[in-house]
Symmetry: C2
Subunit: 634 residues, 2 copies
């Protein structure tokens, strides 16, 4: 049986890193997005206010931006009641539905601006992508509120799409240029119990990349660019992560969802193979993917340049969600390793601590030569990233845990609490990711379980009732951790990690206490020696956090620094960052070459000095700065 | 008085590096260019054969390509008689003239394809650039053959241009988008004695970049792109090397030629300042300039990336010719240092030893990630580089020497011979640039001087005749040379270099012998510590030759190598390269990291091994290969 996330209301976070991000998302990111939607006419578009001659026009992906924020609001509301938020959610959801056409169609651009072009350019115009996000929003809205109006509207839209696309006479044999609807249809199928939506998801996955190619034959797309859309061959035959990274991640999520729901091992195998290629050969140390500036796309194995690494925020989110799916499918914790790498590094780097400024690109170095914005921006013409944050953060508490019948798994040991249907609460106390000591307290949770509406469980084995608090509690041992110790009620447990987890099975009682000590030294990472960009360089990691040098702490000219790998790194307080943030300090060498000649055989001068590294995710929260993750080894 | 090159027929080369290049140019490059002109319809264009509906059409810069090869043929013919070459030159020169229109205009594209667009897009369409190359060709043709038909035709063209452009009523106040005609007009003025052409050159230089801007006002060019054409302000106010590097180099050459011929110190000062900026902050160690792939242009100070360095072959030639001009103007040998750096590195890298394959870009590293062609090509759609080689190599023997009244200067001590009007021959015997021992023998050259038509010189001081063989013989001490010894007729001369030269003044007699020993150790270069791309890296140079590692000698994965700066480098024979080529061998370390993880804290393994470096200019003459100039210092 698959692992799943616990219900949103059953978990809460209290850690020093994720909880403030979730809160900033609620108080700053979501309101900022809504404000921009008003200002940028996205709301006017949904009111179908555009008319010829207006200076603005509904962009082809505006509907998806609004949908993603609605999804985020719904997920936030599902975490805990909030009447004001509920009211706002209701307003925007109704607004969306009001834009739906009598036949079920819902896309403001192709309703208002170019109605004659509906479904005529699938490779570029994002109609099915927008539809997917609308469906995801509708499902989240239904799950948060129990109200069906948005869900029903999106069922009508899905029905129209099912009528339009397929292999029957009179149907278009097309499929989306930007994948997303595949996973959304699986979600819609689960929420409605309607198998036809799953069938449509399978159609979209399976039709993709077939010869003769739809985009080439019907839309005049260049065949050499099919890899960009993962349409160069059918997904089940693909083994490499290629093309636009966000599209790729959403495609793989759809393959896992569809291939798991209506079993299709071929899809699952292909998704796993592509994920392995992506994460073992084409991923930055921060969990960023899609390093090519040109096309926001994957590059060849081991081409992982730092300054130019594109690493779109959305792509890191996509990789995280895919990686979590693969954990849920297989139970192997390596998926969580990748999830966690993105969660603590390549995802949060995309948003300021204040929650209202964003990076679209997340390179691993930044200086005067950077091709990207060097400060986070309030908004983008294509604002997929801010709106993706809006819906990602509210899920994070759930994503730290995984459950299945008879098992609770702590995936990411951030301070948090889970109310279990059996009537216990599992409370994680830790300063993770800044500290490796994880204390899990078992508390009486009957009241909370009842409040959450969990049914009273009665389990029997061979007719004999067994206590409902008997379950397997598994704890992930992170891939970065080389040494750990586990104890139960003060007694050391000699547990060996199996597939990246240790498990305790017993009848849990309030008062039980588990302590997991994860050794968390500063680790000196080196890239695979096929990565030319990182040759001779090291990166520092501690726990799941990748560290970076910023000129705020180290002065300009970071390229002049080199760091000895063997030294006693010190943990210090980071200046100008949230209290409790752990920085790494140590000895570096600064090399200068005398004289102002451009090239000379003068001997260089090297002086010993201190360096400070901060968590990569927190860079550019103290003004514009030079930054680098990989530093030359002294 | 200015220095100048000796007459082409007064010098000859016999060195191991330049002489074979000049010969390959004569036997391979020039014939290859002529063959391509036939095949690509450039010749048909001059025959005015194009008509509407033809699959080919005369490109806007085809005339310049043919002109440059004609210039090369003329310069080659001027070196020594060659009836076959003379006939071919005559044929092509007449062909060019045959395309001239009754009013003097000569441009095949704007005669045949778009006659109505003549002079309407100066910023992009290269009409004045083509005109400049035609004038240069005509002057070279006249100087080589004494025939005036081509020169006269180009005078008529120049007269038309002078009528068309200027500040008088009814004239266009435009100037070329791609500079070149400025220096060509100065050459035409010298050859014809007509001051009006010099005036026109001054007009073009001075009108450039004036407000209101011609390109912006009359041609709708974007003002933020004016730097690309050095038209953001008047050249005399410019101090930085910006924009398209070839355009910049030709502009500066024109500024020096014009500013020197009709004295204008402002122009000279500006050219010198820009040259200093280019060579002290924006030049590759090979003498390549214009590192930006986007626009073939200069980048900001110290931005000198290796793999992506554009460094067009033409730009290195342009910088060399400018640098030589600045030496001739000031007598300071630093201009020759830059000239020599390009001459032995960034220029010859652009052409194969066989003379018929070309690099357009000359980056300082090449591997699977290279954005450029990794093998030299036979031809390009824009074939400015092959045709620039065709006219550059025949000048090289002259450019190794400089003369002025009472002085002969050996600028580049390659094995060569100069016949001096005074009736002595100076014969340089050396294996330069592979060896630093330079022997200059004074021989009886009366017969040769007579054959060359030098007048018999009679000099007097205060009425007293002095022997005509009394002149100052100055020898350049290269900037890379830290130690030298000079002897005359076996006796050590205690000479100190002044402005990069040592000088001997005496009455020269056949049998005199000068020996200059230039210490030529392997030098370990480091870039200015503001060059981030080269931080932690070294490059090897010996004499004027910059060395590079090629995978042919070292195996693939050059990024895994590091080289200790302090070691006994060995000079060895280079495999598969011309006999006598000196390679450098030494100890390197190859670092690998165990395991196939993308990132890991596993300790790296380092093994000691041998490396071999070859002269950069000779890379990719033994098949496709990885290459790098800058290697990590161990």
């Amino acid at each position: 049986m698959r692992y799943a996330s616990p219900a949103p209301s059953a978990v809460s976070l209290a850690d020093p890193v994720l909880a403030p991000r979730v809160e900033a998302n609620r108080t700053a990111t979501i309101p900022a997005c809504l404000k921009h939607f008003e200002k940028e006419h996205c709301i006017d578009a949904l009111k179908l206010k555009w008319k010829k001659g207006d200076k603005w026009w509904p962009h082809i992906f505006w509907d998806s931006d609004v949908a993603k924020v609605v999804e985020g609001m719904a997920r936030e509301l599902a975490r805990k009641p909030d009447p004001a938020l509920a009211k706002e959610l209701d307003r925007v959801a109704k607004l969306i539905v009001s834009a739906q056409q009598p036949d079920g169609y819902l896309n403001t651009h192709f309703t208002l601006v170019e109605p004659e072009k509906r479904w005529t350019n699938l490779h570029d115009w994002h109609e099915l992508y927008c539809a997917g996000h609308l469906m995801e929003a509708a499902v989240a809205h239904f799950e948060a509120t129990g109200e069906r109006f948005f869900l029903d509207a999106m069922r009508r839209y899905a029905d129209l799409i099912a009528k339009t696309f397929g292999r029957r006479r009179g149907q278009k044999r097309g499929y989306p240029g930007h994948e997303e609807i595949e996973l959304a249809l699986c979600r819609l199928a689960r929420a409605t119990g309607e198998r036809k939506y799953l069938d449509l998801a399978h159609y979209f996955v399976d039709e993709r990349g077939r010869a003769p190619n739809y985009y080439v034959e019907k839309e005049g797309w260049q065949s050499w660019r099919l890899e960009y859309l993962q349409a160069h061959k059918p997904p089940r035959e693909q083994r490499e992560a290629v093309g636009h990274a966000v599209r790729w991640a959403y495609l793989c999520c759809g393959m896992v969802d569809a291939g798991d729901a209506k079993p299709d091992v071929g899809l699952l195998e292909a998704a796993v193979a592509m994920w392995k290629n992506a994460t073992k050969r084409r991923m930055l140390v921060t969990g960023g993917i899609g390093t090519a500036r040109d096309g926001e796309a994957f590059e060849r194995d081991f081409k992982l340049d730092n300054l130019t690494a594109y690493a779109e925020s959305c792509a890191a989110i996509g990789l995280a969600l895919l990686s979590r799916r693969l954990h849920d499918l297989t139970g192997g914790a390596r998926g969580i390793d990748v999830f966690e790498r993105a969660l603590y590094n390549g995802i949060p780097s995309g948003v300021s601590l204040s929650g209202d400024r964003f990076f679209y690109q997340n390179p691993l170095a930044s200086n005067a030569d950077s091709p990207y914005a060097r400060e986070r921006q309030a908004w983008f013409q294509c604002s997929c990233c801010p709106t993706n944050f809006a819906r990602f953060w509210p899920q994070v508490a759930q994503l730290c845990w995984a459950v299945r019948a008879g098992e609770v798994r702590l995936c990411v040991p951030a301070a948090s609490e889970l109310v279990h249907p059996t009537g216990v609460r599992l409370k994680v106390e830790s300063r993770y990711p800044y500290d490796g000591r994880i204390v899990v307290k078992v508390l009486d949770g009957r009241r909370q379980a009842k409040a959450l509406g969990f049914p009273t469980l009665e389990l029997t084995i061979n007719g004999k009732p067994i206590p409902a608090t008997a379950f397997r509690f598994s704890l992930r041992i992170p891939g970065w951790c080389k040494k750990f110790a586990l104890s139960l009620n003060g007694k050391r447990v000699a547990a060996k990690a199996d597939k990246g987890v240790v498990a305790l099975k017993r009848i849990w009682k309030p008062g039980d206490e588990i302590v997991l000590d994860l050794a968390m030294p500063v680790q000196v990472l080196r890239a695979n020696d096929s990565v030319a960009a990182d040759a001779g360089c090291i990166a520092l990691q501690r726990g799941p956090l990748v560290y970076a040098l910023e000129s705020v702490d180290n002065g300009p000219g970071l390229h002049r620094l080199s760091i000895p790998a063997k030294q006693d790194f010190k943990l210090v307080a980071a200046k100008g960052l949230p209290r409790g943030t752990v920085a790494i300090a140590g000895t570096a060498f600064e090399t200068t070459r005398p004289g102002d000649a451009l090239y000379s055989d003068a001997a260089p001068r090297t002086r010993r000095r201190r360096f400070v590294a901060i968590p990569y995710a927190l860079w550019q929260n103290r003004g514009p700065a030079e930054m680098q993750v990989w530093t030359r080894e002294a």
